[in-house]
Amino acid sequence: EPEVTQTPSHQVTQMGQEVILRCVPISNHLYFYWYRQILGQKVEFLVSFYNNEISEKSEIFDDQFSVERPDGSNFTLKIRSTKLEDSAMYFCASRRDDQPQHFGDGTRLSIL
């Protein structure tokens, strides 16, 4: 069965550095999402993306965050200048039509 793939599985970065999290959605999916889960807390919506533009974003998704679909397969989340509070598990998801979202295994981001 097709899967959403996320890399790397764990990223350790110094505070203030830029980080890019990568996702390969399922190939025939057109809607893409990023969520995050801070340790011990709920999964939170960050951003949705369709037709090469952001459909909706949360208050968390400020100017430090950006998303891109640089080619036909990858979907990336960039954090420009990381803060300690950005430490979390980041999940990518994709869907087609009105079907449920399929999630990747996540990238654990640790900011030192």
Binding site: F45, E56, R95, P100
Partner: protein
């Protein structure tokens, strides 16, 4: 904003026992999903409910959405160690943005 309250927060059962997890929404649910999360892994889709009174089953797991579409339950029959994990009640919103409950941690003892 919508809040999803799950109960219980955690549950320990003996293998073979039945169990139920409940989810109550602060607003009417227009799409209700159940996902399962295992430590260090992603979120696995279990079931989607959209209509009031709807009930769906897959293997030993049954999910229901009440008529008023503000409560859902997940029932597992004859639990197995493979059922262990965190069960998440999730609602769909505009642009299919998902709102998550805090989850119910299920432990199944052999």
């Amino acid at each position: 904003s919508q809040e999803l309250e799950q109960s219980p927060q955690s549950l320990i059962v003996q293998e073979g026992k039945n169990l139920t997890i409940n989810c109550t929404s602060s607003k009417t649910l227009y799409g209700l999903y159940w996902y399962k999360q295992k430590y260090g892994e992603g979120l696995i889709f279990l079931m989607m409910l959209q209509k009031g009174g709807e009930e769906k089953s897959h293997e030993k797991i049954t999910a229901k959405l009440d008529e008023k579409k503000q409560q859902s339950s997940l029932h597992i029959t004859a639990s197995q160690p493979s059922h262990a994990g965190i069960y998440l009640c999730v609602s769909g919103g505009s642009n299919y943005k998902l709102t998550f409950g805090k989850g119910t941690l299920l432990t199944v003892n052999p």
